[in-house]
């Protein structure tokens, strides 16, 4: 299987990227130092090529009702110019994917994960039948995330667009491009969806204005610090939003909305899930990694995401552990049970530690 390239591939190579195969795409892992890239996003402005993600446009009179069936969150939050984060669930309440749905004047746009591209297309296709909805995958588009405390100011200066006026999770469209006040880093910023042939020019203009290219490795440490889950790692087809710290993405009202997975999820909500995802911070040196066993007073669990936090200087992560677990715990790292504690997410918000 050949590895696909985004429209920014040449720009990555020119910037000295170490490339890695990610979901069939050759993507930048880092450009020399993932720590420096992480810090650039926390203190200034960084940008990520996320063009490997899948963009699907939904049009037609039945688009809204189709979304009401397939998304866990409230489809009416995606009014024109508004975006909403939601799960797509299977009948058992497991997560098919996590996506952002953008409301447009004439329909909706869904951005889903790269690794789930084929599964989500098939799953959409399997549910679209009864609705008057046209699904169109947009492989012609590129995605650039500009993130950091200076992101809005720099983007405004470079593009002459007043993105500062955009509320969080608001979006606007101009000349074939969409700009949304969204991100995956816990910092202020925007994500731009634009024609692929325009991507390199925007990337280079931002770079000339001092925005640091940042790779997938920094994207991972930033999102874990921000308490944001990663599909395939923190949740998957076999785990529900209630077991993944994502219960807030389920809109139970109105009770009559029969979205896929609702019945199974309602049963689990009633019975209460045995294990849920919580934040863990290590008290000592060492780094928890996915798969590490977590020992708590209420029983054992497992780390789903674990990193060295560049902002905090120690290791943090998420673990699926017994619902009633709290306080001190131990994380088995390379055979050694290291002391840690169960904490409230997120770990970092706007560059600062937020948990006790």
């Amino acid at each position: 299987m050949t590895t696909e390239r985004t429209p920014l591939y040449d720009a990555h190579v020119a910037a000295g990227a170490r490339l890695t195969d990610f979901a069939g795409y050759s993507m930048p892992l880092h450009y020399g130092s993932q720590l420096a890239e992480h810090r650039a996003v926390r203190t200034g402005a960084g940008m990520f090529d996320v063009s490997h993600m899948a963009v699907t446009d939904l049009e037609g009179a039945g688009a809204r009702d189709f979304l009401a069936l397939v998304m866990s969150n409230d489809p009416d939050k995606a009014a024109p110019g508004r975006a909403v984060y939601t799960m797509l669930l299977n009948e058992a309440g497991g997560v098919v994917d996590d996506v952002i749905v953008y409301g447009r004047e004439n329909g909706y746009r869904v951005v889903s994960n790269a690794a789930t591209r084929d599964k989500v297309q098939a799953w959409f296709g399997g549910h679209a039948g009864p609705f008057g909805v046209a699904l169109r995958e947009r492989r012609d588009l590129a995605l650039i995330a500009v993130q950091g405390p200076q992101a809005i100011e720099v983007f405004t200066a470079v593009e002459g667009m007043d993105v500062a006026a955009l509320a969080s999770f608001a979006c606007l469209e101009r000349a074939g491009s969409m700009v949304a006040r969204t991100g995956y880093t816990g910092e202020d910023g925007i994500e731009v969806i634009l024609p692929g042939e325009q991507a390199a020019a925007l990337w280079n203009r931002l770079r000339a204005a001092g925005v640091s290219p940042a790779g997938l490795a920094a994207r991972d440490t930033l999102r874990v610090e921000a308490g944001l889950m990663l599909y395939g790692q923190d949740m998957d087809d076999a785990t529900t939003p209630l077991e993944s710290g994502l219960g807030w993405t389920v809109a139970w009202d109105p009770p009559a909305r029969a979205f896929v997975g609702r019945e199974a999820l309602a049963r689990q909500r009633e019975a209460k899930p045995g294990r849920v995802l919580k934040g863990i911070a290590l008290n000592v040196k060492g780094i928890m990694r996915p798969g590490c066993v977590v020992q708590t007073g209420a029983g054992d669990g497992v780390v789903t995401s674990g990193i060295f936090s560049p902002t905090l200087g120690f290791s943090v992560g998420f673990a699926r552990i017994p619902r009633d677990s709290a306080g001190d715990c131990r994380v088995v790292v390379r055979g050694n049970p290291l002391p840690g504690r169960i904490v409230k997410l997120p770990f970092v918000r706007r560059g600062k530690q937020v948990f006790q």
Partner: protein
Amino acid sequence: MSDAPSEAPADVPDDLRYASSHEWARLEDGVVTVGITDFAQQALGDVVFVELPELDAQLQSGVEAGVVESVKAASDIYAPVSGTVVAVNDALEDTPESVNEDPYGDGWFFKVEPDDPEELDELLDADGYTEMCESDDEDH
């Protein structure tokens, strides 16, 4: 390594000896300084913690002497020669990035007084180590 490096090739100084586990050894005035190679630090990525042996510890060649942990993975450090630890680089506690920035200088790990200095001859020379790294790259 699964990642295709597009950066500069690794630096392999001619005057050092190398273990196949990617440590370098430099003999000076009867003492062997040990660190990890440029190839190793590139593969590991940003180093964030280093665990060093205790002063006066007796090391056996080929046996674990410490741990280097990067953003990406933890990796054991093996003693390239047997001997007694006579110095450890405590500065790495505060500046682990030295391992990335200056692997053959400020990024050194520890110094050993070797039981048998001739043991160094069993390690790879620069050409041998370069060849090994190149064939590792081709294997993956």
